[in-house]
């Protein structure tokens, strides 16, 4: 089957800075795909090239089998993009904005679908409001609606939940999940790794313009079988030999708060737990509380980024 998005050896330079260094990637139809990476990794550059907003110095990109520069009309019709920046045209109402966007894609009299999108995104009441009068979250919803107005089979969301409230996130993900179930391919970039872990079936991690990991989300999580061991200790202080494993306590569960000393240790393998407990016992530490947290995507992300320095 034709790939939803096919990226082949794409290189993009800005002067002497190489934003993308030979990126190759194929996203199958119907996937919910995550594109992750730290700021400046090249995620938005790659999305811009897929969307035709940027042009690669070398390499090729196609959407649903249509080359994005040579067969740009078919490629762009197949693609809906929610840009990262909260942009809007201040001259128009929500409905005018959507009708205009629809017309750009050659679709006139699209009001039935526009009404459906507005309803799904809780925008019906704002249909006749000027874009300037909307809150940031509402503007974000309109951007999503604009990306969907021509019913594209492939939808790219570039950090769609940056700075939006929990309610919108839930509404948005419900809708996007439904679109994915209906067969739409979804490509997501986000800094919220728990979102990516929950939603994406496959993930690519970019660093300094290169793909450093590309795998099923489960397989990525399985690469690092360890996790975090949250401890509540009394008695002797944490032994020196365990200090190198100590992590920032921010993710410790609230149940460990109180007079006990808190310590969170990184464990790369569950087998290491036995040794840790023995060391604590020998040092005279009493374990008041203990909780094991499996590795999540954030741990995997940190590992991979650290390993690819």
């Amino acid at each position: 089957m034709t790939a939803a998005i096919d990226v082949r050896s794409v290189v993009k330079r800005y002067g002497s800075f190489e934003a993308l260094r030979g990126v190759s990637l194929s996203i199958a139809q119907g996937e919910f795909f995550g594109l992750l990476g730290p700021n400046g990794a090249g995620k938005t550059t790659l999305i811009s090239i897929i969307a035709g907003l940027g042009r690669p110095d070398s390499g090729e990109v196609s959407v649903m089998g249509h080359e994005v520069t040579g067969d740009f009309r078919a490629a762009r019709r197949a693609l809906g993009v929610v840009p990262q920046e909260l942009v809007f045209d201040p001259f128009f109402t929500v409905r005018e904005t959507l009708r205009i966007t629809s017309g750009y894609y050659g679709i006139r009299r699209n009001d039935a679908w526009i009404d459906e999108i507005l309803a799904h995104l809780d925008l019906t009441e704002k249909a006749d409001a000027n874009m300037r009068a909307l809150s940031g979250g509402m503007k974000r919803r309109v951007l999503v609606a604009q990306a969907l107005v021509h019913r594209p089979p492939v939808i790219v969301l570039d950090e769609p939940t940056a700075g939006v409230d929990v309610e919108l996130r839930q509404t948005l993900w419900q809708f996007i999940r439904r679109l994915n179930r209906d067969g739409h391919t979804i490509v997501l970039t986000t800094h919220y790794l728990e979102e990516a872990q929950e939603l994406c079936g496959r993930i690519a991690m970019l660093k300094q313009g290169q793909i450093v990991a590309l795998d099923d989300t489960r397989a990525l999580l399985g690469r690092f079988p360890g996790g975090r061991l949250h401890l509540g200790l009394s008695g002797a202080p944490l032994p020196q030999m365990l200090e190198p494993l100590r992590l920032d306590d921010a993710s410790a569960p609230d149940s460990l708060a109180g007079p006990v000393r808190r310590a969170t240790l990184r464990i790369d393998d569950y087998a290491a737990i036995e040794g840790i407990l023995a060391t604590l016992r020998e040092a005279g530490c009493r374990i008041e509380d203990m909780e094991l947290q499996r590795a999540d995507l954030e741990d995997v992300f940190v590992h991979i980024m650290r390993d690819n320095r």
Binding site: S48, L53, R73, E85, P90, E96, S102, Y104, G106, Q146
Partner: protein
């Protein structure tokens, strides 16, 4: 699969969007320039009416009106495409035009045609208001329309080029104030270039705006500084030149697609 050659719906939508944009702020985009031109006429016409005679049997006020109308057409055509593009670039909503399947020619045609409409609407407004102040003749109405259309197309295209080139409002203001405004004022809007010293007459003949104004004025009085066919040829060549440049910039994505 080959792409379709021209998306009529895409073009028509962008054209409509551009019309709607200036119609929504019509006080600023239409009424203001009409009033400004009327003030020009009242002041210059009143001061110079008895002192300047350019063509035989044509009062200075009558001479001035076509110049003012054409100046309004040109300046507003430029203002429309340039301001629309620079606003879209700075606010970032230019992506709404760049993401859809619009070709460079469709983008060019929509922006320029909308600029022409704005120029023609303002020009008509200026004409309707100022025509009360003098007797005007219409020696060759076809030439009036032809030069107004061509002139507005040239300036609409120049506005498109300026909007693509500029990265900030300051730069588009410089484009307008240091290129468009001097070329318009030195095009014989307020005088006949024959009243200038020889050197400045020669310089004026290098200014394509002069031919737009002169040809336009010929349509009213049947008299001009340069034969109208020569003006027409120069104006058409100018339009072709600026259009070629604008289409090249759009096709290569200069400052639009990075």
């Amino acid at each position: 699969m080959m792409s379709e050659r021209f998306s009529a719906a895409g073009f028509a939508t962008l054209f409509y969007k551009e019309l709607l944009r200036f119609a929504k702020v019509s006080f600023q985009t239409i009424a203001s320039p009409v009033i400004t031109s009327m003030l020009y006429l009242l002041i210059f016409g009143h001061v110079l009416e008895d002192r300047v005679q350019v063509f035989e049997n044509v009062s200075y006020t009558s001479f001035l009106i076509p110049g003012l109308v054409m100046m309004s057409v040109l300046q507003n055509a430029f203002a429309n495409s340039s301001s629309s593009l620079i606003q879209s670039k700075i606010t970032g909503n230019i992506v709404f035009v760049l993401l859809p399947p619009l070709s460079h020619f469709e983008i060019y045609a929509a922006y320029v045609l909308a600029a022409m409409v704005r120029g023609m609407v303002v020009g008509l407004g200026v004409f309707v208001i100022t025509a009360w102040f003098a007797d005007l003749s219409f020696a060759a109405p076809g030439w009036i329309l032809l030069f107004a259309l061509l002139g507005s197309a040239i300036l609409g295209t120049m506005g498109l080029i300026g909007g693509i080139w500029a990265d900030k409002f300051d730069q588009i203001a410089a484009f307008q104030n240091f290129i468009v405004m001097p070329l318009t004022f030195l095009a014989g809007v307020f005088y006949s270039v024959k009243s200038l010293p020889g050197f400045w007459q020669a310089v004026s003949h290098l200014n394509p705006f002069f031919y737009m104004v002169d040809g336009f004025r010929y349509g009213f009085f049947g008299v001009s500084d340069v034969p109208p066919l020569a003006s027409l040829a120069i104006v058409v060549v100018t339009l072709l030149a600026v259009s070629t440049l604008a289409l090249h910039l759009l096709r290569t994505g200069y400052k639009l697609r990075h």
